[in-house]
C-alpha cells in the first residue's frame, strides 16, 4: 500500500511536470469542455422560451443549472484513454509499460487525476462565469450535496474502468475509431449530455437506467441539483457499485486476453 502511494506520488509529479509544458493545449482542451454544454444549454433555453418558459419540468433556469453542473461532472469523469491506446499499441510504446513490474492502469489513473487537479479550477471558474450569464435556478439540499462527492468519485471510477476496458480493443483491431464513435454516441444520449434523461420517453429512461452511462454522468448531476429522493440516491449508489464490479471483472479479462494477443503478434 505504501509502495502504491509512493508510485502515485511519483506519477503525479511526472504528469504535472509534463502538463505544465503544454499549458496552451490544456487551455484549448478546457475551452472544448466548456463549449459543448454551453451549446446544449443555449439550444434548450431557446426551446423552453419558445414553448412558454418550460420543457417538461425544466425552466430556462433549470436548464442552466443542469448543464453547468453537467459540465463540471463531465469534466471530472472525463478520460481520453480510448484515443490514446491505439497509438500506444501501434507505436509499441506499450512495451515499455509491459516491462514494468506494476499494472499500467495505475499510471493512467494518476495521469488523469493530476490533469484534473490542474484543470478543475479552470472549469469551476467557467462555471461561475456561466452562472453569472445564464442565472441557473439552484436549490441545494444538504444531504444531497454531501453525497455528491462520493457519487462523482464512483462515477469517475466507473467511467474510467469502462473506457479503459474498451480502449483494449486496440489490441485486436487497428481501426478503433469506429468503435469509439459508437461508444461516444451512446454516452452522449444515455448519460444525459444532450438533454436531461427525464425529458426522454419512458422506454429510453428504462434503458438508460439499465446501462452504465447514466451512472457515469447524469446521476451525480441530478443528485447535486436536488432532483433525487434519498431512495433514488441509494439506488444510484448501488447501480454504480454493481457496474464498477462488473467493469473491473471485464477489465481483468479483456486486459489479459489483450496482452496475450499483443505478445503473439509483437509490439
Amino acid at each position: 500500500m505504501m509502495a502504491l502511494a509512493d508510485l502515485y506520488r511519483a506519477e503525479f509529479r511526472t504528469s504535472l511536470a509534463t502538463m505544465f509544458q503544454y499549458r496552451a493545449s490544456l487551455v484549448i482542451w478546457l475551452i472544448s469542455q466548456v463549449l459543448d454544454p454551453v451549446i446544449y444549454l443555449i439550444v434548450w433555453s431557446t426551446v423552453a422560451e419558445a414553448s412558454g418558459g418550460r420543457v417538461g419540468d425544466y425552466t430556462t433556469g433549470d436548464f442552466a443549472a443542469y448543464f453547468i453542473v453537467l459540465m463540471v461532472v463531465n469534466h471530472l469523469t472525463y478520460t481520453w484513454i480510448m484515443w490514446e491506446y491505439e497509438y500506444r499499441v501501434r507505436e509499441g510504446t506499450l512495451s515499455a509499460a509491459l516491462l514494468h513490474p506494476v499494472h499500467p492502469i495505475h499510471a493512467d489513473i494518476a495521469e488523469n487525476l493530476s490533469s484534473k487537479a490542474v484543470s478543475t479550477p479552470g472549469i469551476l471558474l467557467a462555471a461561475l462565469i456561466l452562472s453569472l450569464i445564464f442565472h441557473p435556478t439552484l436549490h441545494f439540499v444538504g444531504w444531497a450535496v454531501a453525497a455528491f462527492l462520493p457519487a462523482v468519485s464512483l462515477a469517475f471510477l466507473l467511467r474510467f474502468f469502462v473506457e479503459w476496458t474498451l480502449a483494449q480493443c486496440a489490441f485486436w483491431t487497428t481501426r478503433v475509431s469506429a468503435l469509439n464513435q459508437m461508444y461516444f454516441v451512446a454516452i452522449l444520449f444515455l448519460s444525459g449530455q444532450v438533454a436531461p434523461l427525464t425529458l426522454f420517453p419512458p422506454a429510453v429512461q428504462t434503458v438508460a437506467a439499465l446501462l452504465p452511462f447514466r451512472w457515469m454522468i447524469s446521476f451525480p448531476v441530478e443528485l447535486l441539483l436536488g432532483n433525487l429522493t434519498p431512495q433514488e440516491a441509494l439506488t444510484g449508489f448501488a447501480a454504480q457499485a454493481a457496474w464498477i464490479a462488473v467493469s473491473l471483472v471485464l477489465l481483468r479479462i479483456v486486459w489479459r486476453a489483450g496482452v496475450r494477443v499483443y505478445s503473439a503478434v509483437g509490439g
Binding site: 511519483a10 511536470a17 515499455a96 514494468h100 503478434v265
Partner: protein
C-alpha cells in the same frame, strides 16, 4: 556448476501475417477470405547463458534477434520450445522476474520527453520500489560512470542523441537488473560515445556480475565486450562459440598490406590484388599460403613495410551470412567444442540435423 541464467531449447516464434495483392479487387476479396502466411521469425534455437556472461547476438536485419530478445524479456509469447530466464518463464511477466531484468532498445525511449531525466529516474525508483538508500547509491554510481551530472536537470528533448542514450541506459539500470538485454544500444552514436558506452557495460558486468546479451551492428561493440557470440540467420542458429573461433572458421583468406615505392605490374602472381595506390598494395591471399607469399614478397620486392591482417570482423560476419547454410557450417546446433558456458553435447550431437 550454477544453473544457466538463460536457458532456451528449440525456441520458436511463428508470426501469422495476412497478405493480399495490391488493387481494389484484391481488397474486396480479402474482406471475404483473408489469406495468411506463416513467418518463422525464430526457428528452433537453443542456447544457454551462464551467470555473468556477456554474449554478442549477431545476425543480419530480420534474422530474429529482436524477436528473441522480446521473448527473453517477456514481451512475446513463444510459439514453441522452452525458455527460462533466472528460473522464470518470461511471458508470465511475474513481478519478481521483471524487477531483475531490463531491455534497452537503442531506438525506443522510456524517458519522459518533456521533463528532466532526473524526474524520470525518480518515477522508475517508485515503479521498481527501489529503497531510497540503494537508489541514491546506484544513481551516484551511474552518474559517475556515464558522466551524467550536467544532463540530469535538462528536459530530455533538449539532450543530444548520445546524451539521451546515456540517460536511457541509466534509467534502465537503476533497479540493478541481473539480466540486461541490449538491442543496438549504440545505434546512431559517434565513435567516442560508442566506446564510452561499451566501457560502461563492461564495468557494469564486472561490478554486479550481471548477464548481458547484446545485439549490435557495430562489430567494435561485439569485439570489445563479448568473448562469445551467437549468430542467427533466418531464425536459425548458425554459430555459438568464441568470437576468435568464428573468425578462424570463416576466414579462408588473410590480407597482406605491403608498402612499396611504386605499384609494380607483376603483382598478380602473389595473390588477388585488392588495391594499389601510391605503392600501398593490398593483397588477398589464401590463409595457408600466407607465410610463403610473405616470404616471396620480402625476397622479391623492395618492401618498405608489410603487415598481415585478418579480414575485418564485419567481413567475416558477412561471409558467415553469405555462405549457404547449414551445410557449409555444419549443424544448426553448434558442436560441443564450440560452445562455452553451456552444457556439453553428447557425442554425435554435431551431426547435421534437419534441412535448411
Amino acid at each position: 556448476m550454477s544453473p544457466p541464467t538463460i536457458h532456451t531449447q528449440d525456441l520458436t516464434k511463428v508470426y501469422t501475417v495476412s497478405e493480399r495483392e495490391a488493387g481494389m479487387r484484391a481488397a474486396v476479396q480479402s474482406l471475404v477470405r483473408r489469406r495468411t502466411e506463416e513467418v518463422r521469425a525464430v526457428d528452433g534455437i537453443s542456447f544457454d547463458l551462464a551467470p555473468g556472461e556477456i554474449v554478442g547476438f549477431l545476425g543480419p536485419n530480420g534474422a530474429g534477434k529482436t524477436t528473441t530478445l522480446k521473448m527473453l524479456s517477456g514481451l512475446l509469447h513463444p510459439t514453441a520450445g522452452t525458455l527460462s530466464v533466472l528460473g522464470h518463464v518470461p511471458w508470465k511477466r511475474e513481478k519478481d522476474f521483471l524487477r531483475q531484468i531490463t531491455l534497452v532498445m537503442g531506438q525506443r525511449n522510456q524517458l519522459v520527453w518533456d521533463i528532466p531525466a532526473a524526474d524520470s529516474f525518480e518515477l522508475n525508483r517508485a515503479i521498481y520500489r527501489i529503497p531510497t538508500a540503494d537508489y541514491k547509491r546506484t544513481l551516484d554510481g551511474l552518474t559517475e560512470l556515464l558522466d551524467l551530472g550536467p544532463l540530469l536537470r535538462k528536459p530530455v528533448r533538449n539532450l543530444s542523441l548520445g546524451e539521451r542514450m546515456k540517460c536511457e541506459i541509466a534509467a534502465a539500470l537503476l533497479h540493478r537488473p541481473q539480466v540486461v538485454f541490449l538491442d543496438e544500444p549504440t545505434i546512431g552514436l559517434d565513435v567516442t560515445m560508442q566506446r564510452r558506452i561499451r566501457t560502461f557495460f563492461a564495468e557494469y558486468n564486472q561490478r554486479f556480475g550481471a548477464t548481458l546479451l547484446l545485439t549490435s551492428h557495430y562489430m567494435n561493440d561485439v569485439e570489445a565486450l563479448c568473448r562469445r557470440v551467437i549468430v542467427i540467420h533466418e531464425g536459425r542458429l548458425l554459430f555459438d562459440g568464441d568470437l576468435s573461433s568464428l573468425v578462424q572458421r570463416f576466414t579462408s583468406h588473410k590480407t597482406i598490406v605491403v608498402q612499396l615505392e611504386t605499384c609494380p605490374d607483376e603483382l598478380q602472381g602473389y595473390g588477388e590484388v585488392v588495391s594499389c595506390e601510391d605503392g600501398l598494395v593490398t593483397l588477398r591471399v589464401p590463409k595457408a599460403e600466407t607465410p610463403r607469399v610473405t616470404a616471396r614478397l620480402l625476397a622479391d620486392l623492395p618492401v618498405i613495410d608489410l603487415t598481415v591482417e585478418d579480414p575485418p570482423i564485419e567481413e567475416v560476419i558477412e561471409r558467415v551470412f553469405a555462405s549457404s547454410f547449414p551445410d557449409a557450417v555444419g549443424p544448426k546446433r553448434p558442436s560441443a567444442s564450440l560452445r562455452t558456458g553451456a552444457s556439453p553435447e553428447p557425442p554425435g550431437a554435431d551431426a547435421p540435423e534437419g534441412t535448411a
